[in-house]
């Protein structure tokens, strides 16, 4: 089972494709207010994450997630609960 760090690393790779070029990506960046992703882009990141880890990440948990770090934590929790 992948650890938090590994999950985060893979998430960041997906984020790189969605983020505007030359953005300063880091695990605690606010996806919306700092990185400027719109709600649809954030949901698309979830689609990628679901496929990457073969899990279902319901959109309803999005409301509490601001950063890649938090998303990695949520995914870790979902994987552990399987």
């Amino acid at each position: 089972m992948p650890q938090h760090e590994q999950i985060l690393e893979r998430l960041m790779a997906h984020l790189e494709r969605l983020a505007p070029p030359d953005s300063n990506l880091h695990p605690d960046i606010d996806l919306v207010s700092e990185l400027g992703l719109d709600s649809v882009k954030v949901m698309d990141l979830m689609l990628d994450a679901e496929d990457e880890f073969d899990i279902s990440v319901p959109l309803n948990i999005l409301a509490d997630i601001r950063t890649p770090n938090q998303l990695a934590q949520a995914i870790n929790k979902l994987l552990e609960s399987q």
Partner: protein, 400 residues
């Protein structure tokens, strides 16, 4: 401390950076409506090609006469909820007629299509359930999902394989899953691969809801929408639709082959806590529904116009949605380019909808043209000519 309004500032700034003067592509003021396809904007006569008025019924003399009669006999409004004083004979008749039209036992009328989605999806699914929806679904479906507290899973647009993958991950929870798709998608005008989606549903279980907002009166031998056209109506558990497009009025509905649909009346807050559609609205919709059933020639005319426009623009080299239909979308580059293009069209006497991200798939600006059966060939050709005249604008700037 932040004021309540601060959060809108960036939206407002972005809008002002894009649009400084009237007429504006956002919330355009239509000064005069002369017919289903002609109006006046900013002092100019324009062809209305951004209306969702697919069958051109807004000025149908029979619809207007029925609305007049209802207005005279029952007044301007019901002033109440369907659950209280707002269910007139005409509301219940319309429900019977919708049920008959769709050959299903139950139908419920709502005050708008937006409310129909809130009122059906938002009531059907509960906190323990799961909704699996196409990523490009309309905002009303997303908002409905948020009301439920259910787990919300998206699948990639029009990708039945991706839907299957996501259902498989849910395991036995799929038995109660609500799968939500649209007949024709409102932005690009593309149709759902409904037979494939039905096959996935058969393998994994669950319920299927199809929002036929843009396909009612447009697809199917009787105008019942994509499910009819694809021969899969028996596998569609719920159809949601609107009166605000092909039926030329305002209001919404849900129909189902589950007779239990009627029970949502007791629980659906968007059904209960709002006033019912006005008698005049209901009267015109009843006639319009009858016209959809009895005048298939309108549907043929709409499709002839849609094909002419789509192929005309394709020949000019425009990047379009994947298939012809009542919505023909031209993909542009930046929002700035979209605004300039929209003004250019208006100067040439053509009004269409400019749609900007994030309401558009893929983050592109698009010119969304609604085709109507009421457009004549000369109007379609004038729209194509206006696009042709503006084409160099795109070639010079490219995307972004």
């Amino acid at each position: 401390m932040m004021s309540l309004f601060d959060k809108f500032q960036s939206l407002s700034d972005a809008r002002h950076a894009l649009i400084q003067a009237e007429p504006s592509p956002i919330g355009t003021r239509i000064d005069e409506v002369l017919s289903p396809t002609e109006g006046r904007v900013d002092g100019r006569s324009v062809i209305l090609a951004g209306t969702n008025n697919y069958l051109g019924l807004t000025f149908d003399p029979d619809c207007i006469a029925a609305a007049h009669d209802a207005l005279d006999q029952e007044g301007t409004g019901t002033t109440g909820s369907r659950m209280a004083n707002g269910s007139y004979v005409s509301h219940t008749r319309l429900e019977e007629e919708l049920a008959r039209f769709f050959a299903r036992p139950s139908a419920v009328v709502f005050s708008t299509g937006y409310m129909a989605n809130l009122g059906l999806i938002g009531t059907l699914a509960g906190a323990d359930d799961v909704i699996v929806l196409d990523a490009d679904c309309h905002a009303s479906i997303y908002d409905a999902c948020r009301l439920t507290g259910a787990d919300i899973i998206r699948f990639r647009h029009n990708d039945a394989g991706d839907l299957e993958k996501r259902l498989r991950r849910l395991g036995e929870r799929t038995a109660n899953a609500l799968i939500v798709v649209e007949g024709i998608y409102s932005m690009l005008g593309d149709q759902a691969p409904l037979r494939e989606i039905v096959a996935v549903k058969r393998r994994h279980g669950g319920y299927l809801l199809v929002d036929e907002a843009h396909s009612l009166g447009v697809l199917g031998a009787h105008g019942r929408g994509l499910a009819e056209a694809e021969g899969v109506e028996a596998d569609v558990d719920f159809v949601v639709g609107t009166f605000s497009k092909s039926l030329g009025a305002i209001g919404g509905f849900a129909v189902s082959h589950h007779p239990q649909l009627d029970m949502i009346r007791y629980a659906s807050r968007p059904y209960i806590f709002t006033a019912s559609p006005s008698p005049a609205t209901i009267a015109s919709v009843r006639v319009a529904l009858d016209i959809v059933a009895s005048r298939p020639a309108l549907r043929r005319q709409l499709w002839a116009n849609a094909e002419r426009l789509y192929h005309g623009l394709a020949r000019l080299g425009f990047e379009l949605g994947p298939e012809p239909g009542p919505v023909v979308a031209t993909l542009l580059g930046s929002p700035q380019q979209g605004v300039a293009f929209w003004h250019g069209l208006l100067e040439r006497g053509v009004y269409v909808n400019l749609v900007l991200p994030p309401a558009t798939p893929g983050g592109r600006a698009l010119m969304r043209i609604s085709v109507s059966a009421a457009h004549d060939t000369a109007q379609i050709d004038r729209i194509i000519a206006a696009f042709a005249a503006l084409k160099p604008m795109l070639d010079h700037h490219g995307h972004e």
